[in-house]
């Protein structure tokens, strides 16, 4: 590990000014021999270390990253390291999702007087990094595309998905319309869905006049999470129609005070599931030799009843809902909106049991770290950097001021390479830690179908394991990364 024993590696150390930097100084003054691989960056507090710093270093070619701050309860700013502990522990559990060995990152506490401890910490960590060797670069990973080979096999939903008879559905929809018409005079608009450019697509509808309400539709094509639009109506009264999952986004927005409770009226409808358009298209295209000369030929009409979709037109078909339903609906345990001034539809719709891990995450889980690097390399290769994933996300509220595009600070370059693109996905996942309701809009919006949701699902699983927390269920809760506990139940101190 010291330079004397072989080649130096690149290890970045973020040291808090008050304790660990002092500790390193003490070690120096005491002439303790230390490895020379560490490049120290002095920061005011370990709480200043944004997990992004660590990921940027690791994606950029660092072989290891060490963060060290004051011992818990010793923070110069009293609480900085408590926040740091939550963030850094979350980060540690997230790194494997990118195919990065979590042992390349460590955080610890060293006080200014602990010269000997500093020497031990840095020696142990650097030695571990040497055992791991040079960090493999994501841009050099062998492309790995298991999904392209048709490995995407839909699983049975955990609850039976069945649309009510057309008449029942129409009656519920009419009731919903009535409630909206009644509320409309007090509201700027009510956001719902209407038929889109063809029978296979719905599109958001902004109802301002009573006659607009007639256009409101309900069904499995209402894929969009309309909560995304709420923050832009600041200080205006607005209504929104939600499915069960969408209601969690509204709760999260209320919880974070990104919308005002007095300004938003929620019109809920119990939900039987929405479709994944890519799957529908694939199913309709199947049997079209020569890879479908044109992939977007639309049917004349689509209707949902019972457990399927009836497609009329040039190629009539009956699609089973279970085959084409959105991934999130397979494991949905909130089909009935969790809040709503109005809730229509089958309010006693059964919820599925909450699964330990969403099925789509199993794809990532099943890979080796090397395969994961190859997976992201291959997937991100086609990313357009359009940021539709960000703009469709109800919880991404910086948008026009996103650090992905900012020149000050200059976080990502305009380079079209995998590293910069993945870096952005990491920004999104980290900023959504403990806030993401897994609505899946990020992935649905991606025009080139990059499975970016799985990164957030991974993150959410970490948050659930560490903090026993789920976003968007309790208006009064505080997202776990905006809080801390002096004694953390599920974080054990890392010995170094």
């Amino acid at each position: 590990m010291p330079v004397l024993k072989g080649k130096e590696l690149r290890v970045v150390g973020f040291l808090c000014n008050w304790c660990s930097y002092g500790g390193a100084d003490t070690a120096g003054v005491g002439r303790f021999s230390q490895p020379t691989d560490l490049r120290i960056i002095r920061v005011p507090c370990s709480g200043r270390v944004d997990p992004m710093f660590v990921v940027k270093a690791l994606l950029g070619g660092a072989d290891g990253v060490l963060v060290s701050g004051c011992h818990p309860r010793d923070c110069h700013y009293s609480q900085g390291n408590f926040y740091a502990r939550r963030r850094l522990e979350t980060l540690k559990t997230f790194l494997p999702a990118l195919g990065i060995d979590p042992d390349r990152f460590q955080y610890t506490w060293v006080s200014a007087s602990e010269g000997q401890r500093w020497k031990n910490v840095v020696s142990t960590f650097v030695e571990k990094v040497h055992q791991l060797g040079h960090a493999p670069r994501i841009e050099e990973a062998a492309p790995y595309l298991p999904l392209a080979a048709g490995g995407d096999s839909p699983r049975a939903p955990l609850r039976p998905l069945a649309y009510p008879a057309a008449g029942t559905l129409a009656a519920s929809l009419e009731q919903l319309r009535e409630k909206i018409r009644a509320a409309l005079p007090e509201l700027d608009c009510v956001i719902g869905w209407q038929q889109g450019f063809d029978a296979l697509h719905a599109t958001p509808l902004f109802m301002r006049k009573p006659e607009d309400v007639d256009k409101l539709t309900w069904g499995p094509l209402n894929v969009h999470n309309l909560a995304t639009y709420l923050p832009q109506f600041k200080n205006r009264k607005v209504g929104v129609v939600v499915k069960g999952c969408d209601s969690r986004s509204v709760i999260e927005l209320l919880q974070e005070k990104l919308v005002e409770p007095d300004n938003v009226r929620v019109f809920g409808m119990a939900c039987e599931g929405v479709v994944d358009m890519a799957r529908v298209q694939k199913t309709l295209d199947a049997g079209n030799a020569d890879g479908a000369m044109c992939a977007d030929v639309a049917p004349a009409a689509v209707a949902a009843e019972g457990d399927g979709l009836t497609v009329e037109g040039e190629a009539p078909a009956r699609l089973k809902l279970a085959d084409v339903v959105a991934e999130k609906c397979r494991t949905c345990d909130t089909p009935v909106p969790l809040l709503g001034d109005v809730v229509e539809g089958n309010a006693s719709a059964p919820a599925g049991p909450a699964p330990d891990a969403p099925p789509s995450l199993e794809v990532l889980d099943a890979m080796t770290p090397e395969q994961r690097r190859g997976f992201w390399r291959a997937q991100m290769d086609r990313c357009l950097r359009c940021y539709a994933c960000r703009n469709a996300c109800p919880m991404c509220v910086c948008r026009d001021h996103c650090i992905a595009e900012s020149r000050d600070p200059h976080w990502t370059t305009q380079e079209g390479n995998v590293r910069e693109k993945l870096q952005f996905q990491v920004i999104h996942a980290l900023h959504l830690a403990g806030r993401c309701t897994e609505c899946g809009e990020c992935q649905r919006a991606c025009p080139v179908n990059i499975p970016v949701l799985s990164l957030k699902q991974w993150m959410n699983r970490s948050v659930r394991t560490l903090f026993d927390y789920r976003a968007g269920v309790d208006v009064n809760a505080v997202p776990p990364l905006l809080a801390f506990a002096v004694e953390e139940k599920n974080i054990k101190e890392h010995g170094l």
């Binding site: 595309l145 999904l147 392209a148 608009c189 889109g196 450019f197 063809d198 296979l200 697509h201 719905a202 599109t203 958001p204 509808l205 902004f206 969009h224 995304t228 639009y229 890519a278 298209q281 694939k282 020569d290 890879g291 479908a292 000369m293 044109c294 992939a295 977007d296 030929v297 639309a298 291959a378 997937q379 290769d381 086609r382 357009l384 950097r385 359009c386 940021y387 539709a388 960000r390 703009n391 469709a392 948008r399 026009d400 595009e405 020149r407 370059t413 305009q414 380079e415 079209g416 390479n417 809009e441 649905r444 919006a445 025009p447 080139v448 179908n449 990059i450 499975p451």
Partner: protein, 363 residues
Amino acid sequence: MSFARYIARGELARALDDMARGRVTYAPRREGDAVVFRPRAEGEEPLLARATVPPKGVIFPQSERLFAFIREKDPNDPGHTTVRLDSTVDIEPALIFGGRPCDARGFHIFDRVYLNGPHRDPYYAARREATVVVTLACNKAGSTCFCHWTGCGPADTTGSDILLTPVGEGADAGFVAVAVTERGGAVLEAANLPEADAARSDAAQAVHAATQAALDAQSPARDLSATPARLLERFSDSDFWRDMSDKCLSCGACTYLCPTCYCFNITDENDGGDGMRGRRLRSWDNCMSSLFTREASGHNPRMGKALRLRNRVGHKFSYYPQLHEGVVSCNGCGRCITGCPVSVDIREMVVRATEANEETPNA
């Protein structure tokens, strides 16, 4: 110069190998659920599906290095630095196979700006000249296709060097290949293919006519000649643009998927923190992004998404045609509609802007 050859379906990969000798071929490939253009290996059977992302990146890369800069301190006078530029551009001869007429016509829209306008863009020019475009005529009309409104069409040859039309079925399936330009002719000759007989040429014509008819049945072609002026009349109608843009997320996916969108950003990227060396990059930019017009002062003349969407539609259907003999800079490929996460429909905006004015001409 125009002549026709026949490629049997089973011969396509071989013929492509011959046409592409000495060139990198870009052909559609399925990645996940998307179809993108990727370098093709010799012998590889190309996908014929219409790509999700058009091939514009081959000639106008998503991100390209214009030059590298290296600052050097004068050893005798440390206060003095000189800047060295390295502007070598690496451009390989290429061939794009399998784009559609709307994709190829996109290059023509670019040409008017980057080749034949007041400034000739050397990077674009070099790539454009090094690239042969082999296009596949459409035999089906997608639900978002409206090329027949815009002067393009399912067998339009503008921007292409060779046009392939799929004919026949089953064992008799193949392509009639027509050389559109001289270099297309040379490339096609190299493939050593039999001449397309009259029956097959007629079959190709029939495919063109049938697809055109399918498009007309789906939505009759519109006369867009009045649209540029009509859109200008709508310029200050904020209610109209609010209604049109309500659901837009301002993400810009539409522009990156568009074969005719050509706006770019230029940034200097430092290699290392000391600012002594770095690169100047040109990368795709889009009018739907707030940064596109944000000024150094912080002021943004296009504050909201309504004004940004107005620019996108206005540029394509009003400002560009007014500068370019009425040519609209939209080829009706429909990708912005299919790829938009919330299905914003450019056809609807164009029609509504045009029609509403017809009712109230001085509105």
